[in-house]
């Protein structure tokens, strides 16, 4: 995974070895956080070295992709978009031309993959992960 390491020189020095040992590829280092809008096209994540020797991930495209986007199938994403509009399983089944039972199966999979406790919680989590268009 390619990362951009940001932080004060001394903090970066402390963390660099550990990140390289973990198999991460540091493509750039800066002492100030890069503008997200400038983009970090060559990197999967921005890792900030903090003064207590810890790392915090500022933006991790790879992480959200692994956990959510890639995990949800195209059909599940389609079902999720309908769930996020407040539709019932029955209404989603009608809209997509599939059975209630199939929708129920997809919704259960979405809830499971997002680590949610129910459909409304799944929508909340999906909105936070950028999986729902608002």
């Amino acid at each position: 995974m390619r990362i951009v390491l940001v932080g004060a020189q001394a903090d970066r020095d402390r963390l660099r070895r550990e990140l390289l040992d973990a198999g991460l590829d540091i493509v750039a280092e800066t002492d100030t956080r890069p503008s997200m809008a400038d983009g970090v096209p060559a990197a999967d994540a921005i890792v900030e070295a903090t003064s207590n020797g810890r790392a915090s991930v500022l933006r991790n495209r790879a992480l959200s992709d692994d956990v959510a986007t890639e995990a949800l199938t195209a059909r599940e994403q389609e079902v999720l978009a309908h769930v996020a509009q407040g539709m019932s399983n029955k209404a989603i089944a009608e809209a997509l031309g599939i059975s209630d039972q199939t929708v129920k199966f997809h919704v259960a999979a979405i809830i499971g993959k997002l680590g949610a406790s129910n459909r409304t919680d799944a929508v909340r989590r999906a909105i936070r992960r950028g999986l729902v268009v608002i």
Partner: protein, 294 residues
């Protein structure tokens, strides 16, 4: 001891609760039951706290009868839920006039054992369209001193005349219970019933919350923003020229710290012309956008 004004008042309050009680039901959709209010013969309004994965929802009548119910739709912005219980045969409570701050009011819910449960307080705050914190999605919210445990979620909030003035949420803002005004709840449920889903304002972006570097923080001090990760073709966002990678900082001067906040702010914003403050390549831009409805 002779009857006093206080005894009269106490009896009136108990009468008001008794009058509204038949319209307050228990909703079982998760491990812990919540409450609901009858909206129409076979329709109950409650909050999303009451529902699980939308199967196996039941409504328990004040008489103790357990009836099968199904989700009609719910509103992700206000968290209100409309349920249909075909055998309910209920009657909606009378709707009262908008309360004033200082009015005595009573929250009514159903306990775990379906007992009638009441909690009195006063109307403490009637929030404008954009109070800080939760409830921003709702054009106006009532906050009350009446303490409400989670089972009150979806229950009735009534005036001393037994008329419905709001739907209890069991959420709190700074120690005061949050109640959705009856007029807004009724309007939301009407829309859910008509469309089978929540109709809402729409930009056409997906985004994630990001921390803003100190040097880029706007004058209002916001420390986070919404990073645009997707712009839908042919959406208000696309027409306004938003790009993936833009940082959305504020909509009509309301700070957008997260996608949830964007959803809530949109819900409380009228469709039509609006201003988005965006950070792009390190510079702040004010982008006019025409908010759509979907």
């Amino acid at each position: 001891m002779a009857k006093t004004a206080l005894t009269d008042f106490s009896n009136q309050l108990a009468d008001a609760v008794a009058a509204a009680a038949p319209a307050v039901v228990q909703v079982q959709g998760r491990r812990q039951p919540a409450s609901g209010v009858v909206y129409a013969t076979d329709v109950v309004v409650t909050t999303s706290r009451a529902i699980g994965s939308d199967d196996n929802i039941s409504v328990v009548t004040p008489g103790g009868q357990t009836l099968k119910a199904e989700l009609i739709a719910w509103d992700p912005a206000t968290h209100l839920v409309a349920l249909r219980a075909p055998e309910l045969n209920g009657a909606a409570p009378p709707i009262g006039a908008s309360p004033r701050v200082g009015h005595i009011a009573v929250a009514i819910g159903r306990s775990w054992s379906n007992s009638l449960t009441a909690s009195a307080g006063i109307v403490s705050v009637i929030g404008g369209p954009l109070p800080t914190g939760r409830g921003r999605a709702i054009e106006e919210i009532i906050r009350t001193t009446a303490p409400m445990h989670r089972g009150f979620a979806g229950g009735a909030f009534i005036n001393t005349g037994g008329e419905l003035i709001g739907i209890a949420t069991a959420a709190e803002i700074r120690g005061l219970g949050v109640v959705i005004p009856a007029a807004i709840a009724w309007k939301t449920v009407e829309s859910l019933l008509t469309h089978g889903r929540a109709k809402r304002r729409y930009l056409g972006v997906a985004g994630q919350a990001v921390q803003l570097p100190p040097a880029q923080r706007p004058a209002d001090g916001s420390s986070s923003a919404v990073l645009v990760v997707q712009v839908m073709d042919d959406s208000p966002a696309a027409r306004a020229g938003l790009l993936v990678g833009d940082l959305l900082v504020a909509l009509n001067d309301q700070p957008l710290e997260s996608p949830d906040r964007l959803l809530e702010t949109l819900a409380a914003t009228a469709a039509g012309a609006a201003r988005l403050r965006v950070l792009r390549g390190g510079s702040a831009l004010e982008i006019p956008i025409d908010i759509g409805e979907k």
